[in-house]
Structures are given as C-alpha cells and as structure tokens.
Symmetry: C2
Subunit: 364 residues, 2 copies
C-alpha cells in the first residue's frame, strides 16, 4: 500500500512542477516513489530531463516516472477481459476483437488511470505515488468513480430485480446459460461480479482515507487561480477526497490571507529558477502530517443521528439536498453524491439541515 | 446549423479569455453567438461580469453565455431515456430511478456536453457557438466520440452476430419480447438504434468539416506551452478535427517562428489589460477564412488508392499503422483511429506507407 498524492488547481498554476518536486522530496527521504503523469504531451518529460514511457523508468535514486497512456492501458485491460471471457464462455466472441484496434472513448482515460494506480498501489513496489492528472473536475470525476459506479450498480440491480421485466426474464436465464455456457452461469458470474463490487468498495475506502489518498490545492496569487482552487476544494469534498493544504506557487509575495482557505495551512513556494529544485522541495510542507490534520469530508455521528458534510467554498444557495430515491442526495459544484449511511440511519427521513462552520449538518 | 469554434492549448495560456473575445467579435459583427463553457468554476462568469447559469443568458447584444453543467444535463437526458423506455416497454423500470439521484461518472461530461452542443446547433438559434472546454486531451476525446463509438457499435454488432452466442441467443429474443414487451420488439428497437447510428454519423460529418467545427491552438511564447499546443495539434488530426491557426497569447514580442506550426498562420494577441477587450478582438484572425484554408486531417484519393493523414508534430517513430481487424488502425499521440474507407478501398491490404510533408501517406 502506498500513499497517493495529487494536486488540484487551475491550469498553468504549476501543478506538474510541484508534483515533480513532491516526488523528489519523498525520494530524497529514502521512500520509493512513482511519479505517474497523465499529461499526454512532452512537458513533464522535458522537466525531468528524459522522455517518459508507458512503464515506470528510473529517473534518480528511489524515483521512477511514467506516462499513463490510455491506448496502452486499454490493450492490457482488453487482454484481461478476454482472459475472463475465455474462463466463462465456451465460445468466446471478444477474442475476435484485438486490443490494438480499440479507440479511446471519453471516460476511459480516468477509468484506466484509476485502475493503473490501483495496480501500482497493490504491487507493493512504491511507498508513495504522485499522480499528476488534469487537476480539475476530470480528476475529481476519476476519484469519484468507485463510489458513484458502486451506487449505479446497487441501485439498478435493485430496480431491475423488483421489476416485471426482471421477474419475467429470470426463468430464461438458466436455459440460455445451459444452452450456451460451460455449466453453471449464475454461480460462476457471481464471482467476478462480487470481485468488481469488492474492488469498488476498496477503492472508495482508500479514497476516503487521507493517509491513503490526499489532494493538495495549487494556486498562484492571481484571483482567477485562487477562485478555481477554492471551487475544486469544495468539489473534492463532494467525492470524499480530503484536501491537506494550499500551495501558493510562483510567489515571493508570501502566503494568502489565512481566511481564504481556512482551516487549511497555506505554503508559499518560489518559482522554479533554472532547474533549482532544492528551493521548491524545501518549501513543501510535510505531507504525512497534512494527512493527519486534513478536514474529513464527512463525519457521521450515529448516536446523535447527525451527518456533517464539510463543504467549504459553497454557500447554502449552492447546495441542494434531496431524498427522491432510497438514499439522501447532496448536489453541489456540478456533482451529486448519494450518502451511503450506516444501518442505523439508512432509510430514515431527513429531519433538518443547516450550514454551520462551512459544513452542512443533516439530522435524521 | 452553427459554426462551432473551440480552442486547444496548455492550461493558463488564456483559452477562456480568447473564447470570450472570439464570441464578442462575432456578436459585434451581428452574428447570434452562444458561448458555452465547461469550466465548472466561477472564472468565466467573473470575466463576463455576471454569474453563469445552466441555460443561455444574454450578456450583450447578440451574445448569450452559459455553463454546461453535467448534473443538470444528466437529469434532462435521463428524462429522455425514460420517455423512450415508456414507449417501448409495457412495464418500464427506469421510471423508478430519478434523474436527481444520478451521480456524474467519468466520460459523462464529454458525452453530455457534445449532445448539448448538437442540440444548440440544431436549434437554429445561433450562427456561431464558441465552446470553451478543457482544451486538452479531454476535448479531443469528446470530439472523437462519434467516430469511435460508431466503430465500437459496428465492430461488436458484427462480432456478436457471427458468434455462437449470438446465434444461440437469437431464438430466445422473440419469445422474451412477446412475453414482456408491447408487441414487435425487433421492429420497434430498430428505430432508436438506427437513430443513434444516424446521430453519430451526422456528428462525425460535422466534426470532419472545418466550416462546421474548427479548432485553434492557443499558446504563450513559453516553451512548455508551445510544446503542448504542438502535441494537441497532432492529436486533433487523429480525431479528424481541423486546426485553423495558432494564437500566440499574452505577448507583445510578436509571433513565433513560422516553421514551428507551418503551414498554420500564427497571430500575436496582446494580454488583456483591465477589461480592454477591443485590443484582443482586433488581433483575432478571420475565423471563417481559416475554416477554408485549414489543412484537412485526411485526404482520400480513390483512383490513386492513396490515403494521406496530416500528422504534424509526430515523427514516424511515434506513429503505428496496423491492420489487425477489418479496418486499418493508426495510433499516435495516445489515440487510435480506425480508418473508415470508401467502398473501393475497404478491406484491401496496405501496400506501403511513408511520411511526406508531415503527412502519413498510405497506399492500398
């Protein structure tokens, strides 16, 4: 298991530069570090002084770097799908389609990158993984995937099973399975479907734990960059991703007024002068300590029947709370979150909700 | 039908600012213009002097602006899915799920934004639509969607129909349909499936026509921004999106060396000084003229049995040509394109390929 760090902020505020400096900082402390960039262009490679490949390459002592390339990752995933199919179907048909033919559709970049991070995390080869993604809403969609996809699977399975269509189809499933498949379809399909649910659950647990996955905001002192960083801060809470600090980049003007990002600490980072990385590395905060102090996106108090959602940068007119389906839905910052509540609170109606100290406090 | 313009370039190079200036330029020429931003933060609204909503709002004479909000668009699309379902299923089950519950998964932003652009384009309300997207690989994935999704549908339908599984399932489809559905399933499903294929085909045709959809590159004189713009230039060709010019932003230093982006023209744009938009607007090129002169991503010469792919910014070691499946696949810049060839060339083996004047010339 590794500590996964990522940076959110407006384009041009220096996210990739700080990702490199962070990776170097940990490497020089003796940690095994993987720097994985999703920037498809040559810029990160240029800054590191070597062109990047689709597999981790040594850059300096303890530091490996790679470019997450979707076309390559898709080929590898396709091979895995074909292997799974070959295990379950007597006459596989995916085998007729080659990974090398497959184009990259929207969303695949995020799904493939997240899965790659999961595999590098599970490999045990790295203490720290620095993920240099788009750093905007796209990165939030990626880290939100496990929780949201898990919701879709749960909700639609339930609706389908309860429907007339589901009931009418169920007697047909066994005969089809017997006719076409090698044996016991239901039992065999249970296993990969359970595996998928487990993976999503594990992903969600890791993303909700700041000692496993932590984001930091990057901004310049410029107003537009500050506004974007603040917006992404709120958005990160909506997917359960904790934010540890604000890095005020490319400045000798000192930090921002503390109240702009309170309660986060903010750290002035000098601009990168002719490859003088040491000055940047020295200015970076202690990320492990930040992981301990980062405000939690959600705090559930079962005895008090109260759920607090930390939603900085939104005011109450920008947050909508609904209970259409079986779960409570919170909408803010173009993101919707269905609250997966503990048994004791599940299915209870919302009694009240109020904004308090940048948090939405919901009573059940 | 509108003329759709978008800007590609490194974050922080000023894409949104130039999108606003472009929208104003057309509006002041008397065109009805929609400026649609996908930036979820407040920055574009601040620049326009009013906060944006999920529907077009008047900003000045002839100019409307909006924020493409995925959560809202998803709700609208979901209503359309439910209406379709209600038409075809006697006992719909999607109706149990509310649009207000649905979270946004990776890829939905791009699919929903593209569909929204299609609808605003078809509405006839606008002469020009300026789309301010992420401006990076994500935007390319979005405009690549119609061609690539169409390929997936075509390829998998063919493989499925030819498979033992497809053949074994076919006798079951009619009985299930009769048991559950209101009447003639096959005939009724043919229609929406054909409509989907038509939409994808129309989208692809529009995106491949520079007088309908045109991209421009935005860069600052800084080396990293130039390298990113060059990379995106090549990537745009891979999805059939023509690029008209390079805008060298925030500079008084003049244009770049012409050979960096030859044969594109490059245009120096001054930095935005205290809301003095007129200086920016005056420095912008004539986009309609660029649409005529933009190099075409693909040129097919049937009598000569030759296909030329314009692939600037890639050298031949970065381009892979394969023929695993029924189509010829070109891989470059983390994108894969399956060439949909005219009848006369389809299925023919590749005889040779060479790089010539920044183009890959393939002979059949």
């Amino acid at each position: 298991m590794a500590f996964i760090l990522t940076f959110l902020g407006k384009g041009g505020s220096g996210r990739s530069t700080l990702a490199i400096a962070t990776a170097q900082k940990f490497a020089r402390q003796g940690k095994a570090v993987l720097l994985a960039t999703q920037d498809a262009g040559p810029v990160v490679g240029t800054q590191l002084g070597q062109s990047l490949t689709a597999t981790p390459q040594s850059v300096e002592t303890n530091l490996w770097a790679m470019q997450l390339r979707s076309a390559t990752l898709l080929e590898q995933s396709w091979d895995a799908v074909k292997a799974l199919e070959a295990q379950y179907l007597r006459t596989p048909f995916f085998k007729e389609v080659y990974g090398q033919e497959l184009g990259v559709l929207p969303g695949m970049d995020e799904a493939l990158a997240l899965d790659a991070l999961r595999r590098y995390d599970a490999s045990g080869d790295y203490d720290v993984i620095v993920y240099d993604g788009a750093g905007d809403q796209t990165t939030l969609r990626m880290f939100g995937l496990p929780e949201i996809l898990d919701w879709y699977l749960r909700r639609f399975r339930q609706v389908f099973e309860a429907s007339d269509l589901g009931k009418a189809l169920s007697p047909f499933i066994q005969p089809i399975a017997n006719a076409v498949l090698a044996g016991d379809w239901a039992g065999r399909l249970e296993q990969p479907s359970q595996q998928a649910a487990d993976l999503l659950g594990q992903g969600r647990t890791a993303i909700n734990d700041p000692t496993r996955v932590l984001a930091c905001l990057v901004t310049t002192p410029e107003a537009a960059a500050v506004a974007t960083a603040r917006h992404l801060w709120g958005g990160a809470q909506q997917i359960g991703l904790a934010v540890g600090a604000v890095l005020v980049n490319q400045t000798t003007a000192g930090t921002l007024e503390p109240e702009v990002f309170a309660p986060l600490s903010n750290h002035a980072i000098p601009a990168l002068a002719t490859q003088d990385w040491a000055a940047l590395i020295d200015a970076l905060p202690d990320f492990n300590q930040l992981a301990q102090s980062a405000p939690r996106p959600i705090v559930i108090d079962v005895p008090a029947r109260r759920v607090s959602l930390f939603l900085p940068s939104f005011d109450k007119t920008q947050v909508t709370l609904t209970q259409y389906g079986p779960e409570v839905t919170v909408e803010a910052g173009d993101q919707r979150r269905n609250l997966l509540l503990p048994e004791e609170l599940r299915g209870r109606p919302v009694q009240g909700a109020k904004f308090q100290d940048r948090s939405l406090v919901i009573s059940f």
